[in-house]
């Protein structure tokens, strides 16, 4: 009992020592592989991608450490605030946002371009974790306690769909669903929602934008129109397939270097990596991600607070979804939805979101034995 009490307020040095440096090493390895891929994508140059990505990673690591050592209760207290801010920004982006790639996603604050949906990815998990932290096992069984969290999920998801950004909406929905699942919401309720959602699909189809419908069509049959919208998937499959078992060699990927592969530094970077390093390289990378996710679950399982468990579990699921959707997309298993490969794809916003998320994950680890009273969940 005394030992745990000590954990409630640790010194900074103790916290730094307690940071899961193995995890930090793991993400550094993954990100470094990403740097080599970006170096190759630029035709053997650290400019313009690898250098900037490295800078972002270094800044991100610092932020991650700061987040990790800040008392978990501070984050818990801030959870609703961040959520509220996220919702306000989503509404703002709806009103004055910048249109890019046919969707309204960016908020231009002069010096800073903010993508509120990215904030919401973290904020939603934070909020749900804090809310469910206040519920007992019995409460979870009662539907009335589920109304508020459902509303908490539906509002931002609705706003994101309206942008329209189907990929992020799915991501939010799936990671929220995971948090609900971890809390112990009865399985039949999930089945009910899934069945209901399935029934609503034909209706939802009508609300999809043409470009989204087209993506689904091309996903179903990419060879139909190889120079049109099916081009991305087809070229990606050609790149993967031609990479073969052992790959074409570093910087030797013809599909990517001769520009047949689109978006090779962002969404399709896995394809380039697997073209150059073959199935072996792809398996190594996937193994690293599996290790990262396993780390996440281990942290979640070791946390003594429900908040920590749900936060770690939710963030880990989010990480999994990123990796899975991206690789499934580039290998033609799911439609192209524009989800980057975590820590690998070029892009500042995604890198920050991920390192903030991993920072919170490490935070849960550092504060694994901190006791958080249930009433702290309330407002």
């Amino acid at each position: 009992m005394a030992y745990w009490s000590n954990r409630n307020d640790m010194s900074l040095g103790r916290k730094l020592r307690d940071i899961n440096w193995g995890l930090v090493l793991l993400i550094t390895v993954i990100a470094s592989l990403g740097f080599t891929a970006l170096y190759s994508a630029a035709g053997g140059d650290i400019d313009p991608w690898a250098d900037r990505q490295m800078a972002r990673f270094v800044i991100g690591i610092v932020i991650m450490v700061v987040i990790a050592v800040t008392d978990i209760r501070v984050w818990m207290r801030l959870s609703y605030v961040v959520y509220a801010l996220g919702v306000i920004l989503l509404i703002a982006v709806e009103l004055v946002g910048r249109v890019g790639m046919g969707a309204q996603r960016w908020l231009d604050l002069g010096v800073l371009h903010i993508q509120p949906s990215e904030i919401m990815k973290i904020a939603l998990v934070l909020t749900l974790a804090r809310y469910f932290h206040g519920l007992s096992y019995e409460d979870i069984g009662r539907i009335r306690w589920l109304v508020i969290p459902l509303a908490v999920v539906v509002v931002p998801v609705g706003l994101v769909i309206k942008q329209p950004d189907l990929g992020t909406a799915m991501l939010l929905l799936a990671s929220s669903g995971a948090v609900f699942f971890f809390t112990g919401v009865r399985a039949w309720k999930f089945l009910l929602v899934i069945a209901g959602g399935g029934g609503a699909l034909p209706i939802a189809w009508n609300f999809l934008h043409d470009y989204q419908k087209r993506r689904v069509f091309t996903f179903m049959n990419p060879e139909e129109d190889p120079l049109g919208s099916g081009y991305h998937i087809l070229q990606s499959k050609i790149a993967l397939g031609s990479g073969g078992f052992s790959g074409k060699g570093f910087m030797q990927g013809t599909q990517s270097h001769l520009s047949f592969l689109p978006e090779k530094q962002t969404d399709f970077i896995f394809t380039m990596f697997a073209e150059e390093h073959g199935l072996i390289g792809a398996l190594v990378l996937i193994a690293l991600y599996i290790l990262l996710i396993a780390y996440g679950y281990a942290i979640a399982l070791r946390s003594r607070s429900q908040y920590g468990r749900l936060l770690a579990g939710g963030l880990t699921t989010m990480l999994f979804l990123y990796v899975f959707i991206n690789i499934a997309m580039v290998s033609g298993l799911v439609p192209v939805v524009g989800v980057p490969l975590p820590l690998f794809s070029y892009g500042g916003t995604a890198m920050m979101t991920l390192l903030v998320g991993i920072g919170l994950l490490v935070n849960v680890y550092v504060h694994r034995d901190v006791e958080i009273p249930r009433h702290m969940s309330g407002l």
């Binding site: 971890f182 809390t183 070229q235 397939g241 990479g243 270097h257 792809a282 996937i286 429900q306 468990r309």
Partner: protein, 637 residues
């Protein structure tokens, strides 16, 4: 402790469900690995192929087309450097400014500019667009000199077909042109933009030999089609040269001898069958077809009443007129209905049935035999000979001498002419043969038509003593200069089974034609004995003279008739008389008189031919100097 217990419930549920979800996620990763295994191992070959197809662009390297040479190696069709100026849009900031600067050096008119800008817009920015081609070396050098001030301008030296003699060989050599849809075949070369294939003449008949085999280069390209580097290169095999039997000097002489007249001439070696000259006048400029003929040029060629596109030597079908008489006589002798001594009296006409058939000489020739009838070209004698012999026997002899069927010359578009028979008339016109028609055939009129080449072959087969020499225009012996095979016709070709005496009579008649005092072509004789020529005049009616016209007694002078209605002038000949070597047929369309118009041309051609005689005077090739010999070296600009 109650709180702790409930907390434990939550933890237990979390642990269970986290493990459940974690396992599910691991399973999903398993699916990804399975997918990657499928793509990267099982389907790898297929995708490797697709990636290579993406990346590698095969470019065909067109082979250099073989040349067409005359018998001494003079280039009749060759390849000329094609100096081109091109513009690459991405290398200049301002296409208009560059074109403007260029127009100060070479001619770039508004239509050219419009075309260039249109093409630039259609194509990718790194694709060179041709601004001007077939530039002179001076213009090309000028642009090259100024190229530092011409951003985006690229100079290029390609190859294009060149016919240095312009129209002299147009009907022999033919021309090349762009490949038409229905000419596309197995050879991928044919799909190459700008590729040319033979469209007529030797260029067409020997196209495959001249064409050569394509080389190819494998080029790595990126997704936008830009060439990154060359991976592999196989040079093709250039086309073989084709050596003709034609003597370029004689051909040029023959063509020039026709002057403004429309007509054709063929000179053939009676032993070898080699054609030394084959001219159809006027010719046309084959270069027009190579670069792409324009509308006005096409209309000009088509509307010309002299029909320059028609190869009259093998496509023109004319009644042979009196040039037909030798064989009518031979047919009569062979049939046994006449002997060399059979005499026919010519009062100037012959009555047959209800018709009167006139001799060209109003007062008549008096008593004629075969030789004197040839000498004076007596019509009545041959009316009688034909009447006694019948058309079918005449046709038999005519066909043996090469008339009425393809000679098999290796040129395009040969026509066969008509040698009528009873069966032919029944089949073609559905009418029986009238005996009176025999008479008309006897003087080479009526249904009979022949080509000048056929007449030359006929003369050759008579002059060589009756051997079936076939005409040809491409040398088979792979040599230049005089023929390497000097065997006479009798040891080369099958005999036509004429009686030597009968042939000799025909030749004697032909010799007397060019002999004073009575020979019809005596004025066109060759006076040097060693070159002396024998021949036969022919003046063939284009239009039948009606009874009414004849009875009206209004004799319209030939010169007063419209050109189209004047008689054709023909002459067939061989030389030298002492030891025949060359045969010649000349036709001057609507030339009015065989003796006055065609015979002098034949005389000059045969005289020139003998003077140039390759068997006596081997020469070195003079010919025009070709561009390739002295052209400046390639300059990349």
């Amino acid at each position: 402790m109650a709180i702790n217990r409930r907390d434990n419930d939550l933890q237990r549920v979390f642990t269970r469900r986290a493990l459940l979800l974690g396992t599910a996620q691991l399973g999903m990763f398993g699916a990804l690995v399975g997918r990657l295994y499928y793509l990267q191992v099982m389907e790898s070959d297929k995708y490797t192929l697709l990636a290579e197809e993406n990346r590698i662009n095969m470019r065909l390297l067109p082979p250099r087309r073989g040349r067409v040479l005359d018998r001494f190696g003079v280039e009749l069709a060759s390849n000329r450097r094609n100096y081109r100026v091109m513009i690459v849009a991405e290398q200049t900031r301002n296409v208009d400014a560059t074109l403007e600067a260029l127009s100060k050096l070479i001619q770039v008119d508004d239509t050219q500019r419009a075309r260039v800008k249109r093409e630039i817009e259609r194509r990718r920015k790194f694709v060179p667009v041709v601004v001007a081609e077939n530039l002179s070396w001076d213009d090309f050098a000028k642009v090259n000199l100024h190229s530092p001030d011409l951003p985006g301008v690229q100079l290029d030296v390609g190859e294009t077909r060149d016919y240095p003699y312009v129209q002299t060989f147009s009907h022999v050599v033919g021309y090349v042109g762009a490949v038409a849809e229905n000419e596309l075949g197995d050879d991928p070369l044919l799909e190459l933009p700008g590729f040319r294939i033979g469209k007529s003449g030797v260029e067409k008949v020997y196209d495959e030999q001249l064409r050569g085999r394509a080389g190819h280069s494998q080029i790595e390209v990126n997704a936008y089609g830009r060439a990154i580097r060359e991976l592999e290169r196989h040079n093709g095999q250039q086309g073989d040269d084709v050596v003709l039997t034609i003597d370029a000097d004689l051909q040029r002489f023959t063509q020039e001898r026709f002057g403004e007249d429309s007509g054709a001439a063929v000179v053939i070696d009676i032993h070898t069958g080699e054609i030394l000259s084959l001219v159809s006048n006027p010719g046309y400029d084959p270069n027009w077809f190579n670069v792409g003929i324009t509308g006005p040029q096409w209309r000009q060629l088509n509307n010309d009443k002299y029909k320059p596109l028609l190869n009259k030597a093998i496509q023109g079908q004319y009644p042979p007129g009196s040039t037909f008489k030798m064989l009518v006589g031979i047919a009569a002798l062979e049939s046994g209905n006449m002997t060399p001594d059979t005499r026919v009296f010519c009062p100037g006409h012959m009555d047959f049935g209800n018709n009167t058939f006139h001799c060209w000489k109003k007062g008549g020739h008096g008593t004629m035999n075969y030789v004197s009838a040839l000498e004076e070209s007596c019509d009545v004698y041959f009316y009688e000979a034909a009447r006694r012999t019948g058309v079918d026997k005449i046709a038999e002899v005519a066909k043996k001498l090469g008339l009425g069927d393809f000679t098999g010359i290796d040129l395009t578009g040969e026509r066969r002419g008509i040698i009528p028979t009873r069966a032919w008339k029944q089949g073609a016109l559905g009418q029986p043969w009238h005996p009176g028609e025999n008479l008309v055939i006897g003087i080479g009129q009526g249904y009979v038509t022949t080509t000048p080449l056929q007449l030359a072959v006929m003369a050759a087969r008579l002059a060589n003593g009756g051997y079936a020499v076939p005409p040809r225009i491409v040398r088979k012996d792979d040599a230049f200069g005089p023929a390497t095979d000097l065997r006479p016709a009798s040891r080369r070709w099958p005999s036509l089974n004429f009686k030597r005496e009968q042939i000799d009579l025909a030749l004697e008649g032909m010799t007397r034609v060019t002999t004073p005092p009575r020979g019809t072509a005596q004025r066109a004789r060759i006076t040097q004995a060693e070159y002396a020529m024998a021949g036969k005049t022919g003046t063939s009616q284009v239009r039948r003279i009606s009874k009414a016209e004849r009875e009206a007694k209004v004799k319209v002078k030939p010169q007063d008739k419209p050109w189209e209605e004047r008689d054709h002038a023909l002459f067939v000949a061989f030389a030298p008389v002492s030891a025949p070597r060359y045969a010649c047929a000349v036709i001057v369309e609507h030339g009015m008189s065989g003796s006055a118009t065609a015979a002098p041309i034949a005389r000059d051609i045969l005289l020139e031919c003998q003077k140039l005689d390759p068997s006596r005077k081997p020469r070195t090739a003079p010919g025009p100097t070709t561009a390739s010999g002295q052209a400046p070296t390639r300059n990349g600009g």
